[in-house]
Symmetry: C2
Subunit: 462 residues, 2 copies
């Protein structure tokens, strides 16, 4: 066979390095995105999975054996195409394929739900298994994978070790919260495990002991919340990245987060250029500008106490907040966070040193006796992206907080406390909601649209 089996990525790559020959005979396999004809010449947009870009197949009545069949190949069909490369310097796409012969590998039944027209995201959510065949979700799946890889690469290059923390667990990292129970029976009818277990809400408690041996570690895996909140930012199953660093205080930790996030965004701006351009054109016109701002700015650090002063000041000067009950100790609400990050700082902002009562038991108590060394990253238009803290390394203080939170009523979390008696040290960590980071990177504003098979209350169709 004179036709060289190849992939679109290779052809585009050859083109970019000026090595693509006009007339090259190729065999391509892929799926029809669109197919139209004017009676004598037909045009198929073919996607082959190897690049975000499609290629145009041109088949003309006087050069192919079966124009009529070709013209009936429906969107979604899979094809094997023999043809030759035709450079098209005067057109939008740099080359097209002039078809010699097409073999239909897999046709499409009449009830195929995807058509040329634009479908709503709601409609597409209902056919999650076909979504990756649309431009938006094809781009999303690619960006999701590229972001995963960028993260793994950064961690590897920076001596972080990947720790697979358990999904089935007997402890509740947040000290409260709605969890999914896990159950099975053994052959004898007895419970499979010797105590009640549930799906993890965070890998943090399990990853910390590894930081106390491997220094810099991270988890990257699914976590679960049985929270029945029907918002665009909550799902029952979502992926979290949770780094933990020994010999690292809050200030060092802020630098690490900033390095990691800027690296990932820059990596995608470079390696997912076509996909981000698509999102910028069709999903969120401010996307690229926002991403560039994040990587180009230095991120401001504002202590919680100062943030409350800023809000009080704004209120006194007449700025309207829906919730005007502003006082030290309050939970900052979305409108308050937005005011600070969008109106005051106009860029990514760390809020640090939150009131102790508002935060988790494991956070390092500051010398002031009132606050903990917690840090949340707020991003304009996005809200909270990352939360973390220096960890309480004082055994007695941690014991007391765990008792207050009823975590020592049995011995299931005693091992965690013990790490503070067995060669503990200053350490810090944080959690990135991977799906929320993807929302930032794509402009998609519903978590159901950045997950591949979203799970929310009542929703497990696939």
């Amino acid at each position: 066979m004179p036709y060289q089996e190849t992939i679109l990525k290779e052809l585009y790559h050859s083109f970019e390095s000026h090595n693509l020959s006009d007339g090259l005979q190729v065999n391509l396999k892929g799926w029809v995105r669109t197919n139209r004809n004017n009676g004598s010449i037909g045009f198929i947009e073919l996607s082959d999975g190897t690049t975000f870009l499609n290629v145009q197949l041109v088949y003309s009545k006087d050069q192919v054996d079966d124009f009529d069949s070709y013209s009936h190949y429906l969107t979604g069909s899979s094809l094997s195409v023999n043809g030759e490369v035709k450079l098209t310097p005067n057109m939008k796409q740099p080359f097209e394929i002039h078809v010699h012969h097409i073999e239909l590998l897999g046709g499409v039944s009449d009830d195929y739900p995807l058509q040329k027209k634009r479908h709503t995201f709601e409609f597409l959510r209902d056919i999650a298994y076909l979504r990756p065949r649309t431009n938006t979700f094809y781009a999303l799946a690619r960006v999701r994978s590229k972001l995963s890889y960028a993260m793994h690469k950064w961690f590897n290059d920076n001596d972080f070790y990947y720790i697979h923390t358990p999904i089935i667990t007997g402890i509740d990292s947040e000290g409260a919260g709605q969890v999914f129970d896990v159950n099975a029976k053994k052959e004898d009818g007895k419970p499979f495990f010797d105590k009640p277990v549930h799906l993890t809400v965070s890998g943090q408690l399990h990853v910390e002991p590894f930081a106390l041996a491997l220094r810099n570690v991270y988890t990257f895996g699914p976590t679960f919340r049985a929270e029945n909140s029907n918002t665009p930012r909550h799902a029952s199953e979502f992926w979290m990245v949770e780094p933990e660093m020994a010999f690292c205080d809050i200030h060092k930790a802020l630098k690490i987060v900033e390095n990691l996030l800027k690296y990932c965004i820059n990596d995608l701006l470079k390696n997912a250029k076509d996909e981000l351009n698509f999102f910028n054109a069709f999903v969120d016109k401010n996307l690229l500008e926002r991403l560039h701002k994040i990587v180009d700015s230095s991120w401001e650090v504002i202590p919680y106490t100062k943030a409350v002063e800023i809000l009080e000041d704004a209120k006194n000067k007449g700025h309207h907040f829906d919730n005007e009950n502003i006082f030290w100790g309050m939970d900052l609400q979305s409108e308050h966070e937005r005011y600070i990050t969008e109106q005051v700082v106009k860029g990514p902002t760390w809020i640090i040193d939150y009131p102790k009562e508002a935060k988790a038991f494991y956070m390092k108590q500051n010398p002031d006796g009132k606050t903990v060394a917690a840090y949340d990253l707020l991003v304009p238009e996005i809200g909270e992206l990352i939360g973390g803290s220096q960890r309480e390394d004082d055994y007695e203080k941690l014991r007391q907080r765990m008792e207050e939170c009823h975590l020592l009523k049995d011995d299931s979390a005693l091992w965690y406390l013990n790490t503070r008696r067995f060669g503990g040290c200053v350490h810090s960590g944080f959690g990135i909601g991977f799906d929320r980071f993807l929302m930032l990177l794509t402009g998609l504003n519903n978590i159901r649209d950045v997950q591949l098979y979203p799970r929310t209350a009542n929703q497990v169709k696939y």
Copy 2:
């Protein structure tokens, strides 16, 4: 401070590139592995998490301010050390640190369970959260992370996209099997999801639709079996890698597996050299030889039918099998697999084209009407490492097998069948038990010792 904060990895790296200066003043932070003294000079083996290698700290009575305190720092304590590099060209280790001052960051209580002596793996399993502080599990955690990264890197470099398939699912990929149920209630007391759901046993069915858009994809995540089998090779929670390739038949698939596995093993032989040397010295004396054999050999392909002939022939010539009931259609048992891979081939061996009845419903039926295009990789001394198949792409044949397996009694798996009517194509995939691959790479022969927090029946201590 004249002491330069650094990490052991950097010091070893400088040494290897002939850039490490005798007398360099450094600050190191890490954990005591051992501490001994002869009354006037003391020696601490310090691990800092950044390399498998330790460094020896030398503190002498006439040069430090508090020799007595230093000599009482227990195994496991965390330290901050100021000292200077002393090159030691005549000793086993290339350099040591002559101590000026040590600060104890975190001491160790008397009940710290790890001592200098060697502990049994059984004992250590019971203190999973402290295991990474022992040489064996420190090495294991590092190899586990490096293997994960090698895989992600190979997939990235070969245009495979990482797909996060769901953990909570309503379908059972294997068509049978013991699953963990997942439950939660909403505030109104009603079930959280609108149908019974459980923990996934495989991401394959969910990843296949993505292969039909992105061509080459893979999952890498936790999977679950509520199987009460107390063997060294079974766990209730384990990580699987499941690639799926469009436009790929069984023969192309075998090449892909071979490339991937050889790449990973070669990568670890290079990038986890110290760790593998340790395992070879202390866990399995044949480890390196076996790994080199796997990467250096070409892997033989034997159809199941031929394998049965080989076994019959061996039996007739007097070879003893415990199970001598050898016939076409039998399940090959461990002793049969071992005979073929260890006695006949003496290397990694593919068995392909198994009887249809013995294999899963989604496997491609061969033209003979009796076998399916399945492939299992058998490795000497290890057994089955990988299983996969070309997938049934014929709608009618798949429908019939799904009906036989009672998978169409409701419509929860109908979408999977539909992919064969909506632009299907020849595709193949396989599954790698990540933990079992780690057993091969480390010589550790119990899956509980390659997992970080193992889960088996009755066992969820952490």
